[in-house]
Symmetry: C2
Subunit: 207 residues, 2 copies
DNA sequence: GTCTATAGTATGATAGAC
DNA sequence: GTCTATCATACTATAGAC
């Protein structure tokens, strides 16, 4: 394994655990067993390292999600849950990158939104905007009773629930283990999340 | 206004905007127009200041929420939506603390969970554990088909959607106005949110 | 490519004069 | 209570020897 790989792997694990800003290059190089200066040699800056870590996942996940959404064409009727189920396979396939791939990716995505990493959000959106639009179209087809505006609002509520769930996952898992004697893997939070967001999306509008 | 008050007010605004760790004591004292050393004189440490900021809201919000939940006893049948309506008045009453009180409180709550501020979560839970339990009980009564663990998870998904909605409210309102010609007041986002979270909560579990 | 050494900057906290 | 000055400690980034 090259030094560059060692750095990306260590950075991913630490970013996913503590967030981007809270992880120092010293922690990363120490964990990777490489010299501190090597990060700037191989990546140029911490910011570039962050993008490299995200790119490794986004470049796999987004095309896979696009393919899943495409396959919805085969069905006559599309439900919200079917749309969100499209996230499962692309997410689980991230175990190719690392054993903790799915969990790490979701946590990283959460931090990318919650920390004021404007460059990350811009990167994600410009790079994969078409997939996002595709997703919106399917949700509209699954919920023709909702106006575009209503769908817009609910999508952002969903985004919030998802991001928050991932960023807080460790704390929540610990509480669930302590209070309910329930062992939950980070990547299985999505199993709990999907019924929730599908139900919220399909709910009848305010009365 | 005393120096102590100036510090708490400035800290609240900055914490709500950038998070706890990302806000320095120098930013706070500069914004408050007081000396740097005064934070440690009045509060002892940054950690203690964080708790003071949170305490000001929690000590108002939690008892008010408890009273609202208590009033549910008058009803024979309780729905999820009725339970969540209990949040409206206690939240809006936080304008007594500051004009941005409701929004700030929700943002601070989000940061308190997402940053690894173990001491904050512990503080919240030990101080107001009974209200949380009360809330869970009512939600359980409204949704007897869901297990305690399932309720716990969904409650936190709801917290995420709510926090995110408040955090992004200004941007979302502007987009809604531009794209959908829809005028929404910040305090009416909750009208859009409640059907969503009630629908998510009542959704049947994963299958 | 890899290292040491260090520049340059920011942080939380504190001692001590007033 | 409030101030200045400063300590001790982190951080990112880089220059320069090997």
């Amino acid at each position: 394994m090259t030094t560059k790989d060692k750095i990306v792997n260590a950075a991913e694990a630490l970013f996913a655990e503590h967030g981007f800003e809270q992880t120092s290059l010293r922690q990363i190089t120490s964990e990777a067993g490489v010299n501190l200066a090597s990060v700037n040699y191989h990546f140029g800056s911490k910011k570039a390292l962050i993008q490299a870590v995200m790119a490794r996942y986004l470049s796999r996940f987004m095309p896979a999600l696009a393919r899943q959404l495409q396959s919805l064409e085969n069905y006559q009727q599309v439900t919200s849950r079917a749309v969100f189920d499209c996230f499962r396979q692309p997410l689980m396939a991230l175990t190719d990158v690392s054993r903790q791939g799915p969990a790490n990716f979701l946590r990283l995505l959460g931090f990318a939104y919650s920390e004021i990493q404007g460059h990350l959000r811009k990167y994600t959106m410009t790079e994969f905007g078409t997939v996002i639009e595709q997703l919106l179209q399917w949700l509209h087809r699954a919920n023709p009773q909702l106006s575009d505006a209503e769908l817009f609002w609910r999508l952002h509520f969903i985004l919030g629930a998802t991001v928050f769930a991932q960023v807080s996952s460790q704390a929540l898992i610990e509480i669930a283990a302590a209070d309910f004697d329930e062992q939950v893997d980070p990547e299985h939070i999505i199993d709990k999340l999907i019924p929730f967001i599908a139900g919220g999306l399909d709910s009848s509008a305010a009365g």
